[in-house]
């Protein structure tokens, strides 16, 4: 259940960031284009494919090295998924280097923002836990 809740949090964060990035990408590279409404479903689908991997993080304790490897693997996979699906859906042209670089920047931006929001969420949890810990210790001492 905790994993599903975490997945949902990551998924909604990814959808938000991708929507914002897609709007910027379209504004920069296809300012005058008329877009099909299917792009909304495409964004939801690609965001799902990118987020689902957080369900596959192992339950066992990962060492720092394994965690770095897992995050790197996830990042590379996200690049493959977005670039692959992007080509398939016609989000960019394979022979346009500027658009490819734009896509890579967008992917990095979304990945970093989602990591930061997840971190912030855990930092907020830690803050609450610290407040309770302090109260717990004061109660024990009195």
């Amino acid at each position: 259940m905790k994993k599903l809740k975490n997945f949902w949090y990551v998924y909604t964060s990814v959808v938000t960031c991708v929507s914002f990035s897609a709007a910027s990408f379209i504004r920069i590279f296809f300012a005058d284009a008329l877009l099909d409404t299917s792009i909304i479903w495409q964004i939801l689908f690609v965001s799902f494919l990118c987020s689902i991997w957080c369900l596959l993080y192992p339950d066992r304790e990962l060492s720092k090295k394994e965690l770095v490897l897992a995050y790197t693997g996830h990042y590379l996979l996200v690049n493959l998924i977005v670039l692959g699906c992007g080509l398939w859906f016609g989000w960019f042209y394979a022979d346009n280097l500027l658009q490819i670089i734009g896509m890579l920047i967008v992917i990095a931006f979304v990945f970093v923002v989602v990591c930061i929001t997840t971190w912030k969420r855990e930092a907020h949890e830690a803050m609450l836990m610290n407040e309770r810990l302090k109260a717990y210790q004061e109660k024990k001492e009195s």
């Binding site: 304790e61 990962l62 855990e122 949890e125 609450l128 836990m129 810990l133």
Partner: protein, 145 residues
């Protein structure tokens, strides 16, 4: 719950009697806390056997079938297994945070996030220990979150 404290005669041992209809979780926690607070842990260091009060202990660590207990600066070895210590200190300040560690919550300075649902406990002596993801919900529950 009614609490009565009686004066004892000289020469008599201090005694706590709990009169209840049923041993519920609250009373059991009380019993564990009383027992754990009184009983010292036997530990060895440089061939010397010591009795250590639980309140002095920062954390226990299991390494290769051996269990060590850490005070502010010193390290001792104890014959107890980690699961035995977990059982013995159930309902007290001691809390299992991973496969290899039990920490004393009274000796935790603060908690911080450590990626992927894990947290890190910084002890009052500056040492840092990782709290596994699977133990985080129990810790939150213990802290009343």
């Amino acid at each position: 719950m009614k609490i009565t404290i009686l004066d004892r005669a000289d020469g008599e041992e201090d005694e706590i009697i709990i009169r209840c209809r049923q041993l519920d979780e609250h009373i059991l926690k009380l019993v564990y806390a009383l027992k754990a607070g009184q009983e010292k842990i036997t530990a060895v260091r440089d061939g010397n056997i010591m009795q250590i009060a639980p309140k002095e202990i920062y954390y226990f660590e299991a390494v290769d079938n051996r269990v060590f207990l850490y005070l502010e600066k010193e390290v001792y070895e104890t014959k107890y297994r980690l699961y035995e210590l977990e059982e013995r200190f159930r309902g007290t300040d001691f809390f299992r945070i991973s496969k290899s560690y039990i920490i004393n919550l009274a000796k935790v300075s603060h908690l911080s996030p450590a990626f992927n649902g894990r947290f890190e406990a910084t002890m009052k002596n500056g040492e840092r220990l990782v709290i596994s993801r699977q133990y985080v919900p129990t810790l939150k529950e213990k802290l009343g979150l």
